[in-house]
């Protein structure tokens, strides 16, 4: 198809989409209106299960099955990245050379690492009360570990990151979610129904199974992101192509090894 033909096709399709979108937007309720049919019911259901954060209730209680799907997508994506970015035959592994980092940045990293870890765990643990939850907190925890890379060097990260443990954690988090669902069935209720005691509204021990599922997702996301970034770091800093032509790697100033 010629460039012109593609452009005409795109413009025609875009016009149709624009018209449909405009028609849909005209029929939407007005922005900031007082009538929220879904929101009101969701908030009522959340409060009935003593969950202060209605979003957490929707994610991990009312529509917990959807979240199982989302969690599995992340799990599968991490697996896919692991397979695609593995060290293939012929690729060499070269340990990255240590990096010099200015003392001020190193001190900032030392200060931020525990604080970031704590903030991440706080966000996971308070998912049922305040904004946040397993996904957000899990990513923050994973980021905390990688402060070791950006504020020190890759060697420091590798020493303090037993990767197989994180691979197990990734799978365990995914499994814990499904196992919780099966347990609710064994308890005589529906899959992923909120069968635990609901506790006191607005405290850490409220919302029943939301806490358990939140923790499972937090673990899966934190470990999954660590494993994912590990494959990226390996590829970018350690693994090298088998030299396709002579003098490719050695000709560079400073050496590409990192």
């Amino acid at each position: 198809m010629t460039r012109r033909g593609r452009l005409v096709l795109f413009l025609a399709a875009a016009a149709v989409v624009a018209a449909l979108l405009a028609a849909a937007f005209v029929a939407l309720p007005h922005f900031g209106g007082a009538h929220h049919p879904y929101g009101e019911r969701a908030v009522r259901a959340a409060f009935a299960h003593r969950t202060a954060n209605a979003i957490a209730s929707v994610n991990f209680d009312q529509r917990a099955f959807d979240t199982l799907g989302e969690e599995s997508i992340l799990f599968a994506a991490v697996l896919g990245a692991l397979v695609l970015l593995r060290q293939t035959a012929g690729e060499r592994r070269r340990p990255p050379r240590p990096t010099r980092v200015s003392p001020a940045i190193r001190r900032l990293g030392v200060l931020l690492l525990p604080v970031t870890l704590l903030v991440g765990l706080y966000v996971v643990a308070h998912g049922q009360i305040t904004p946040g939850g397993g996904f957000q907190g899990g990513v923050v925890v994973a980021t905390a570990l990688h402060l070791l890379y950006v504020a020190a060097d890759y060697g420091a990260l590798e020493r303090l990151r037993p990767l197989s443990l994180y691979e197990i954690g990734d799978a365990a988090g995914e499994a814990a979610y499904a196992v919780t669902g099966i347990a609710t069935v064994l308890a005589g209720s529906a899959f992923l129904a909120n069968v635990l005691p609901w506790g006191t509204f607005g405290t850490l021990s409220s919302a029943g199974t939301v806490v358990v599922l939140n923790a499972a997702v937090g673990m899966e996301v934190a470990c999954g992101v660590v494993v994912l970034l590990a494959t990226f770091l390996d590829q970018a800093l350690e693994i090298e192509k088998p030299e396709p032509r002579q003098g490719d790697g050695s000709a560079r100033p400073g050496g590409g090894g990192g």
Binding site: E70, A77, G80, L84, Q136, H146, F232
Partner: protein, 115 residues
Amino acid sequence: MTDVLLALALLLVAVTATAAVLNREPVRQALVLSFLGLALALLFTFVQAPDVSLSQLAVGSAVTPLMIVLTVRKVRRDAGTGPGPGPDSGPDPSANTGPAHGRSGGDGPGEGGRR
């Protein structure tokens, strides 16, 4: 006053997204993308959706930039289009951007897991 905040945040998102499209060099684009993430986080907070805002900040402020930057480094190193800083990007800029799409399959998980 909320309307002023909303209008400003929407303006920021629209302008930043356009700038992200117009920038063609991957690392530069990543920097603008970080900015876009921040603008989106502000917008989400102003429309009272702090959960979404937190997801955006968590993924967008360090993890996505790290993945993009590592991918670009790997692609540049493997492309081997030239030994020095200059020629690396000189002869064929599309050599840098082309393979980046093929290798960046890992961008998916960040997006897929976001809710």
